[in-house]
């Protein structure tokens, strides 16, 4: 059975690219364009992994993680954080909140994203 990945990201093109890349590898990719929607989808589909953008309209990535930590059902879903700026403060905060890994948009490419995903949940 295909592994389920929930992508929470507001950037259309990023969604498009990641969906293609990960879909090609056989993952089922669910998309939420904003934090609140992301949490809702999480409860619906119970994904194996969450790819979470930090800066989003309405509810940002950190708030989503805080809420996940409060919810026992969501608490154990692994999270890879997608950062735009890659600032140490941001990454530290992500680690604090229990992110398994992180990637910086400008410094990584989709291939590396795939590698990080595989590292977390396998093929």
């Amino acid at each position: 059975m295909a592994k389920k990945i929930l992508l929470v990201e507001d950037e259309e093109i990023m969604i498009d690219l990641l969906q293609k890349k990960l879909g090609k590898e056989g993952y089922t990719v669910f998309v939420a364009k904003e934090g609140e929607e992301g949490l809702k989808k999480m409860r619906e589909v119970n994904p194996d992994l969450v790819l979470l953008d930090i800066i989003m309209p309405k509810k940002g990535g950190f708030e989503v993680m805080e809420e996940m930590n409060r919810d026992p059902k969501l608490k154990n879903i692994p999270v890879i954080v997608i950062s735009n700026s890659g600032q140490p403060v941001e990454l530290d905060r992500a680690k604090e909140l229990g992110a398994k890994d992180w990637l910086i948009k400008t410094e990584f490419d989709p291939k590396e994203v795939l590698e990080k995903v595989i590292k977390q949940i396998g093929k």
């Binding site: 093109i13 690219l17 293609k20 735009n84 948009k105 400008t106 490419d109 989709p110």
Partner: protein
């Protein structure tokens, strides 16, 4: 009390006046008050006396009428039933003619019907007449009140006489009306004072007799105590009559001799004003008398005091003359008393004084003669002395002349000096003006480290007043809070510093320079220049913020491009031809450069915003170097450049932010490879020193032109030869590197020679135990 000095004479007069006039006045007023009450009483007594006589007359008048009525009508003619009515009428007519005092005699039957009236005035019946009914009931003679029938100015009085039969029942009544002219005459004739008058009033307060007929039957004034008077029978009364206060005596006429009276009030009253006018007149006379007496007393007092003080004045005048030197004066007093004795003694005394004075004068004349002789001797002596003095003076004048000449010479010299001083002063003023008006803050510390100058700008920056701080040492100044940051920057012993930034607060950032001031090889002290760069800093901050914001916004699309290109290149989106691939590859690299530039800009912006975060952890710097070199190996190989890495076997760990220090090393290594021609060599070395690690990156590259070396670490700097060789490059790398190294407490510097190569050095402090 000086202003109120009274002479003895005045005092005497005042005392005499006081003892003469005051008792006189007191006595006068006492007499006056006694007199007033006496006069009042006397007046009342007089009124009462007259009143008593008047009352008797009134009683007599009525009683006589009474007697007549009884005598004339209590006869058998009237009481006998056998005497016919005609005879009775004839009798009445006869009586009426004899007694003109009887105005009218009326015969009534037992029911009050008129049988006959002598005056023919009365008709009808008396059956409801008050007095008739009384007479009928009481069966005795009833006297009416005084009343008026038609003409109120003609009062009258009636008697009702019942005629009884043997059974003591009235068969007829006779009514007799009295003529009251004589009665009124009694009242009119009363004369008291000028306007005194008698009143007769009945029980109800109606005036029944009074000199003014028009007032008859009017009510007496309401303030007349009608009931009280009846109760008291007689006494003194005050009441208002025709708006005038009256004082008088009253008396109740209780009966008319043996006949019962009608309780008439007889009042004899005089206007109060009239009584008082008498009193007033007397009072006026007494006042006049008092006034005359006072004047007389004053005159006497004055004369008396004069007789006492006149001798005294003579003594005083004599004493004055003696004081003035006139010993011929004699006091003449012939009063035959103590004053005369005193005058004799006084004259004797003056005589004695005159003798002493004459003796004294003689002695004085003697003395003067002696003085004159002595003076003559002295004058002779003085003349010979003058000659000597003249000679000496001449000599002195010569000396003075000499002195004056030398003084003139001296003054000339001094004037020259003064001119020089003035020039120097002017120069000093100029310099001072320069210092005071200089836009930068200036402070001067002397050799001993004491503040000897501070200009207004510096005072403003440091929030101090020159008086408070001049002469203070560095150590003392450190205690002033606003001064503390500057002193900390300068250090305990002032070293030369060049444009160091000093944040004094949110709204003041200074650039501090310390310059050694040396004059003719002698160190004078240090000049501290404080340049206000707050505004520049603010502009810079705004710029940085802008860059940061712009860079962030750029990153997002750049990432999207990067990812897209990567996926196309990786064939994720389908086959790509080799030509397409080659072009896309170039686009990808260009995009990467763009990302690097943005990252550099962001780093710079963060450094300048002061939020370039460092999280130092103990790290093996050797490992970091190895990793960085590893990343650059490919590029070096491509350029056929050899990289040599030398380091000691073991290295102590240093506290670094791994990521940042790696960036710093990477920038140095990348530059070395970039600006070294193929076949060149890059040497990376770590040396361990006592307290630090010294790292160096050395190349055999193009070097940095000497004239541009000072700008190597500034933002966007690129050496001209570097730009010729490699067009790409942000000029930010070394700026970032320098900031990273310094943020770790290290130092960075370089040595370079154009065309031969460059060596960059940086140090990192070791962890202290």
């Amino acid at each position: 009390m000086k202003g109120f000095r009274f002479s003895f004479k005045t005092k005497t007069i005042l005392i005499l006046l006081f003892f003469g006039i005051v008792p006189l006045l007191l006595n006068g007023f006492f007499i006056l008050s006694q007199l007033e009450s006496y006069l009042k009483n006397k007046t009342i007594q007089n009124l009462e006396e007259i009143e008593r006589l008047v009352a008797v007359q009134i009683e007599d008048f009525v009683a006589e009428a009474f007697n007549n009525v009884i005598f004339l009508f209590k006869t058998p003619v009237f009481s006998s039933l056998t005497v016919p009515l005609e005879e009775k009428i004839a009798e009445i007519k006869k009586i009426a003619s004899y007694y003109p005092n009887f105005q009218d005699i009326t015969l009534l039957d037992k029911d009050g019907r008129i049988l006959f009236s002598s005056s023919f005035k009365f008709y009808g019946k008396f059956s409801s007449n008050f007095w008739f009914l009384q007479a009928k009931e009481k069966k005795e003679v009833i006297i009416s009140d005084i009343y008026a029938v038609l003409d109120p100015t003609r009062p009258t009085l009636s008697f009702f006489l019942p005629i009884l039969d043997e059974k003591n029942e009235p068969i007829f009544f006779i009514s007799v009306q009295l003529n009251m002219e004589k009665f009124l005459e009694i009242i009119n004739s009363v004369k008291v004072g000028e306007r005194g008058q008698a009143f007769l009033i009945n029980e109800r307060g109606d005036i029944i007799a009074h000199p003014y007929r028009s007032l008859l039957f009017e009510k007496i004034s309401p303030d007349y105590p009608l009931k009280e008077a009846v109760f008291l029978k007689k006494g003194v009364v005050e009441f208002t009559f025709r708006e005038e206060k009256m004082v008088g005596a009253f008396r109740i006429i209780e009966n008319f001799q043996q006949y019962p009276g009608k309780n008439w009030h007889l009042i004899l009253a005089q206007p109060k004003e009239e009584i008082l006018s008498l009193v007033r007149q007397i009072r006026k006379q007494i006042y006049f008398f008092l006034f005359l007496s006072s004047i007389a007393i004053a005159l006497i007092a004055s004369l008396l005091s004069r007789s006492i003080t006149q001798p005294l004045e003579k003594f005083i005048s004599a004493a004055h003359q003696v004081t003035a030197g006139n010993f011929q004066v004699q006091v003449e007093v012939k009063t035959n008393d103590e004053f005369e004795d005193l005058a004799t003694t006084f004259n004797q005394m003056i005589k004695e004084l005159r003798n002493s004075y004459l003796k004294l004068n003689e002695a004085k004349a003697n003395l003067e003669r002696q003085v004159r002789a002595r003076t003559e001797q002295l004058e002779t002596l003085a003349k010979s002395l003058d000659k000597e003095v003249e000679k000496r003076t001449r000599e002195l004048n010569l000396k003075i002349e000499e002195l004056r000449k030398s003084r003139t010479a001296l003054i000339n010299i001094l004037e020259d000096v003064e001119e020089a001083r003035k020039k120097a002063e002017e120069e000093r003023k100029k310099t001072n003006a320069l210092i005071v008006n200089f836009s930068d803050g200036l402070l001067f510390f002397d050799q001993e480290g004491k503040l000897s100058l501070i200009n207004p700008q510096a005072e403003k920056f440091l929030k101090v007043n020159s008086q408070e701080v001049i002469g203070q040492s560095l150590f003392q100044l450190k205690k002033i809070p606003s001064f503390q940051p500057l002193i900390e920057l300068l250090g305990e012993k002032i070293q030369e510093i060049f444009r160091k930034e000093l944040k004094m607060g949110e709204d003041l950032i200074l650039e501090v320079s310390a310059i050694s001031v040396i004059s003719e090889k002698e160190q004078l002290g240090h000049l501290i220049v404080l340049h206000n760069i707050t505004r520049e800093k603010m502009v810079e901050r705004i710029k940085t913020e802008f860059v940061s914001l712009a860079a962030h916004q750029l990153r997002t699309p750049l990432s999207a491009i990067k990812w897209t290109l990567r996926m196309i290149l990786d064939g994720d989106l389908g086959e790509v031809s080799p030509d397409q691939k080659a072009l896309l590859e170039k686009s990808y690299l260009a995009n990467e450069r763009m990302i690097n530039l943005i990252n550099d800009l962001l780093n710079v912006a963060r450094i300048e915003e002061g939020r370039y975060l460092y999280k130092p952890q103990p790290e093996d710097i050797g490992i970091i170097f190895s990793e960085v070199i590893e990343l650059h190996k490919e590029k070096a190989e491509r350029k056929k450049i050899e990289i040599i890495f030398k380091k000691p076997e073991s290295l102590p760990k240093v506290l670094v932010d791994k990521e940042k220090i790696a960036l710093a090393i990477s920038n140095l290594v990348n530059n070395a490879i970039e600006y070294t021609l193929a076949g060149g060599k890059v040497t990376v070395e770590i040396q361990k020193r006592e307290k630090e690690l010294l790292c160096l990156v050395s190349d055999t590259g193009i070097g940095i032109p000497k004239d541009q070396q000072s700008r190597v670490f500034t933002k966007f700097f690129r050496a001209t030869n570097a730009m010729r060789m490699q067009t790409e490059g942000t000029g930010l790398g070394l700026f970032i590197t320098k900031n990273i190294i310094e943020a770790h407490g290290g130092k960075i510097w370089f040595q370079s020679e154009e065309g031969k190569g460059t060596t960059f050095y940086f140090s990192l402090p070791l962890i202290e135990n």
